[in-house]
């Protein structure tokens, strides 16, 4: 699955990274805890979260996630989007809730990170 598919499935608005939608999504991970995203997620993961602050972008960059989807219509500040643009981290925004967003992507074939696969 590619980010372009995620955008279509979640009817998402692209906040930045229009030119990066051909990135492959290796796995999906949904959470509102930064440490958990560091613990479980692997490079190439798509992070789905309701957190919209700058540290989410920093963590996503550090872990080499393929992109971030903000669920429940949560919109980050312009300053956060600007940093993501500089870091080339695509940001999508969907009105679907976390459960529905994950469910729709799973139904379309995307799978979660396998916990403990990598340390």
């Amino acid at each position: 699955m590619y980010l372009r598919d995620v955008q279509r499935i979640l009817k998402a608005e692209v906040l930045c990274g229009e030119d990066l939608l051909d990135r492959e999504v290796v796995a999906g991970f949904g959470c509102d805890l930064i440490s958990d995203s560091l613990f479980f997620a692997t490079p190439g993961t798509l992070l789905l979260t309701g957190l919209t602050h700058l540290q989410v972008i920093r963590a996503a960059e550090l872990m080499e996630f393929c992109g971030v989807v903000f669920v429940r219509g949560k919109r980050p500040a312009e300053s956060v989007i600007d940093v993501a643009r500089q870091k080339r981290m695509p940001l999508l925004l969907t009105r679907y809730l976390m459960f529905d967003s994950c469910g729709l992507l799973y139904q379309a074939g995307l799978r979660g990170c396998r916990a403990g696969e990598q340390r």
Binding site: I34, S35, L38, P43, L51, L54, Q55, A59, L62
Partner: protein
């Protein structure tokens, strides 16, 4: 004895906007010296967690990385309240972070668990009322 590259970053308490600067700097340096990807990722997670702990709990501190071909050592030293019960602090899910910090997605009590998982050896020293020191060893070439 092989040459060691030492990087040091100052971290200020409650400076959430700066979270990721020290760990990002360490990650970039490791990539520049051609360190293997799994070591880079593990060291980056360790650095992110110690950096975040200083921002959440301490007044100020230092995050340091000692890089050599055989190992990466991530060290953190802070001036802060210290940890009264280290055993309790090591338990997954235990946290003393206030509610407003948890609402930011931090302080879920997973920091030490992440450090332990991503390092080959972890040491923590703490003195109540003074501060905390953490040393995390990541060996190169170890799966």
């Amino acid at each position: 004895m092989s040459e060691e590259l030492v990087l040091e970053f100052q971290v200020r308490g409650l400076d959430f906007a700066a979270v990721g600067e020290a760990s990002g700097g360490i990650k970039r340096a490791l990539q520049q010296v051609g360190m293997e990807a799994s070591v880079v990722r593990r060291a980056a997670v360790c650095a992110f967690e110690v950096e975040t702990n200083i921002v959440i709990h301490a007044t100020r501190g230092v995050v340091r990385a000692r890089i050599s071909p055989e190992r990466v050592v991530v060290e953190a030293e802070d001036e802060g309240p210290g940890i009264p019960d280290l055993e309790l602090a090591m338990q997954e899910g235990y946290s003393t972070a206030p509610a407003y910090i948890r609402e930011m997605g931090f302080g879920a009590g997973m920091g030490f668990a992440n450090m332990k998982r991503c390092s080959d050896h972890m040491e923590v020293w703490s003195e109540v009322g003074k501060g905390t020191r953490v040393r995390l060893l990541i060996e190169v070439g170890k799966p």
